[in-house]
């Protein structure tokens, strides 16, 4: 009988399924195939790890699916592992689906072995069997199932093959009362100690399976030992640590236990997995020879990214962005006409047109850019190329204490820091996630381009390309220096054991690419939309109040604030209140820097054109212009970026730190540029 997945909503939940798997096992594709559009994304509490929850309906009953982070094991060495392990142990999962890469089954079975040690009901989805067949790997799912003691079902999640069978097996297990025996055989001494500790723990209220906890104690898992100690104390079993040490000599059996798991995984595959004597050279291998080539790899990557950014700006900003702005302007005009028609107060019309529609316009202008960028990046990601990009940069990034994948987040940051920082989620440990997040704002985002272009037009028209290149290069250099600094100071000691794995190339599916695009656009609109809108509205209010003052003049509240902070920037050569206000206006959204300068200097709100260029020539010199460009490149990122950092790190501390340290670096370098330039006789 073929199982059918109904997509209609049914209120009663009949069970929870947790999805686990190694990175690159096709788990996300499996999750999408299982839940369709019924899913939402969030964070696990207290960590920067993404939490995806979805649901599906089978024979009139609804099941919740929790997609756990992709991990190679269930130890306690990364946030991802801890999150996955905690949920498997103490979450409400009734059954676990372990998505296993059929071409890499031996490695993937280590995780499966750990699930079985926990005594969990498990279904193995032997995924990407089509790729395994291309590599001439012969698989015996029944043989594997017999040795593992759990259902093993071949699937191709990208094509939806086998999903129904996995659902059927999983639901079958939910409804059965099954006791899962740990199939791993440990050395006699180890088993003796496990038995001894398990006997001690029987009198406690430990929330974990007793035999698993005993195993982890003997393995030397510090987190579990501490927890077990607490429960023992609470249960009157004082000094567990002493008892434990007294039960044998306090020796570590970590290596013996891990070895037993590897040996078990190896035995399971014997006879059930047959590889060709000589590895089959697939299309993937042939392409990889070129794209991961020692010398060609980076130029190929640069060329691909150049095309991505060209298309992003050409299509996303120039065509769709203009179109989106036109729509907002048209809506603004319509609203103004309507408000005038119903005789709304003048201040309200001004607020709606200048405040609300200008504010919304600033956001909408970004949406097409993010849409196109993510469409293209989603295509690269789904095709398997992004894993290669990480590979070719791994060496340089490792020297800076990061992993190659961190480079992708930085590249995305050139488009917009918000998705750049969001993409740091995919990194394997907290140290890499945090450093990549903290240096991302130095990657000059698309919103800063108008600032550079207007200053270049005013002061450096002959050296535009060179200056733009230098500005971008300065951002990268400062970012990489700070990565090294953070690696040696704030995050030292958290080393990364990163295993580079290249998934096979696949034809991207329209569903995955569009889902990736939509998730990012929706997230951006949700986060950035509200923030930019609110702050721009506030700025408008400050620029037109008090009513006795002329709007946008120094007598306005905004003008007074600008005059107060202006002395701060004098050492960098640009100390007027207008220039200070423009910098702070850039914190809500970077495009506002040019707009505000235009509004305050040229007497009207202009974003480009000769009027602003002439106005800038009156108020800046080439040297102060250069210092101003350096400042805008490096100083505090926009509110949308800071709020993304707050959300991703679940703390207010890190965005505040980022705002301050980037400001200090921007200010410091702008001062250096101006002071050194002045000393050298430039003006």
């Amino acid at each position: 009988m073929k199982a059918t997945v109904h997509k209609e909503a049914v209120r009663v939940r009949s069970g929870t399924i947790a999805l686990v798997g190694n990175p690159n096992s096709g788990k996300t594709t499996f999750f999408n195939a299982l839940t369709g559009s019924n899913q939402h994304v969030g964070n696990w509490p207290g960590v920067t790890v993404e939490k995806k929850v979805g649901s599906f309906t089978y024979e009139g009953e609804r099941y919740r699916v929790v997609d756990l982070p992709g991990t190679y094991s269930l130890g306690a060495f990364s946030e991802d592992e801890v999150v996955a392990r905690q949920f498997v142990l103490t979450g409400d999962a009734d059954v676990i689906i372990d998505v296993v890469d059929a071409s890499n089954i031996e490695r993937n079975l280590y995780l499966a072995t750990q699930l079985l040690e926990m005594g969990k009901k498990v279904v193995i989805a032997l995924n990407m069997v089509d790729e395994a067949a291309r590599r001439k790997i012969k698989l015996d799912p029944e043989g594997l199932s017999k040795k593992l003691g759990v259902p093993v079902i071949p699937t191709v999640a990208a094509r939806g093959r086998g999903i129904d069978d996995v659902i059927k097996a999983a639901i079958g297990l939910i409804k059965q009362d099954v006791v899962v025996e740990n199939p791993v055989r440990y050395p006699k001494t180890v088993q003796h100690h496990i038995d001894e500790v398990a006997t001690t723990l029987e009198g406690t209220d430990l929330p974990y399976p007793i035999r698993w906890a005993a195993l982890k104690v003997v393995e030397g898992d510090e987190e579990i030992i501490n927890m077990v100690g607490k429960y023992c104390a609470a249960s009157g079993l004082q000094d567990f640590a002493q008892r434990y040490n007294g039960s044998h000599t306090g020796e570590s059996f970590e290596l013996d236990i891990i070895d037993a798991r590897y040996n078990f995984a190896h035995r399971v595959t014997e006879g059930a997995v047959q590889r060709p004597k000589e590895e089959v050279v697939t299309f993937t291998d042939k392409v990889d020879k070129i794209v991961t080539h020692k010398y060609l790899g980076i130029p190929i990557f640069a060329a691909i990214m150049l095309v991505v950014f060209q298309l992003t700006f050409e299509v996303g900003e120039e065509i769709l962005g203009e179109f989106a702005v036109d729509i907002v302007e048209w809506l603004g005009d319509m609203a103004a006409t309507f408000l005038a028609y119903i005789s709304a107060p003048g201040w309200f019309i001004s607020f709606m047109t200048e405040g609300v529609f200008n504010g919304v316009g600033a956001v909408v202008e970004f949406v097409p850019l993010i849409l196109v960028l993510y469409l293209l990046l989603g295509f690269l990601e789904d095709s398997g190329y992004m894993a290669r990009a990480a590979y070719v940069w791994d060496d340089l990034m490792r020297r800076l204490g990061l992993q190659g994948k961190a480079f992708i987040s930085l590249i995305i940051g050139f488009g917009c820091n918000v998705p750049g920082i969001m993409s740091a989620r995919t990194l394997d440990n907290r140290k890499d996630r945090m450093i990549t997040t903290l240096i991302n704002p130095f990657m000059s985002c698309g919103a800063k381009i108008p600032i550079y272009s207007v200053f270049i037009a005013a002061f450096f028209p002959r050296h535009g390309g060179l200056l733009l290149f230098a500005i971008y290069a300065l951002g990268i250099v400062i970012g990489l220096i700070m990565a090294k600094v953070f690696n040696k100071t704030l995050f030292k000691g958290e080393s990364s054991h990163f295993i580079m794995e290249l998934p096979p190339y696949r034809m991207p599916t329209v569903r995955n690419v569009f889902r990736n695009m939509w998730d990012n656009v929706y997230g951006f609109l949700q986060r950035a939309g509200t923030t930019i809108f609110m702050v721009i509205t506030l700025l408008w209010v400050l620029a037109v109040l008090p009513v006795s003052a002329e709007p946008y003049s120094q007598a306005s509240i905004l003008g007074r604030i600008g005059a107060f902070i202006a002395p701060l920037f004098r050492p960098a050569g640009f100390g007027t209140w207008q220039e200070s206000v423009a910098l702070f206006a850039g914190i809500p959204a970077k495009e506002a820097v040019v707009g505000t300068l235009g509004m305050l200097y040229a007497g009207q709100y202009v974003e480009e054109g000769t009027l602003l260029v002439n106005a800038l020539k009156l108020h800046f010199t080439p040297l102060t212009a250069l210092a101003y460009m350096v400042m805008t490149l490096l100083y505090t990122p926009c509110i949308a970026t800071l709020s993304t950092v707050a959300k991703e790190t679940n703390s207010i501390k890190w965005p505040v730190f980022m705002a301050l340290y980037t400001f200090a670096i921007g200010w410091g370098l702008a001062v250096v540029v101006f002071q050194v330039g002045s000393l050298l006789g430039f003006s």
């Binding site: 060495f77 040490n245 000599t249 306090g250 891990i258 590897y262 295993i499």
Partner: protein, 93 residues
């Protein structure tokens, strides 16, 4: 498998992952994982050729190559050697 990797590296001084894979009859990805685990637990040490390399160039198979590029090799640590001698490390409590 981990103990076997440790024994072979200790016996031969140096060995490639593909040779380990052949000798132990396990796939190279498993060898990669095994080495990563042994490094994490401190039974192996990663040694990078270059200025800080503790290995004497005479007799080293990478001597010619390492003047051109950095080569990463693995050594059995003191902890690993003690383990191979039958002395287990103590549990950190």
């Amino acid at each position: 498998m981990l103990t076997d990797i440790l024994k072979i590296i200790d016996r031969d001084g140096y060995i490639s992952r593909s040779e380990l894979s052949r000798e132990l009859d396990v796939y190279q990805s498993m060898i990669d994982d095994g080495i990563t685990e042994l490094l994490r637990m401190g039974y192996l040490l990663e040694v990078q050729t270059g200025e800080d390399c503790p290995t004497v160039c005479a007799g080293c198979p990478f001597a010619k190559q390492c003047s051109k590029e950095i080569v990463k090799t693995f050594q059995v640590s003191d902890k690993g050697r003690h383990y191979l001698e039958g002395k287990r490390p103590t549990v950190r409590m």
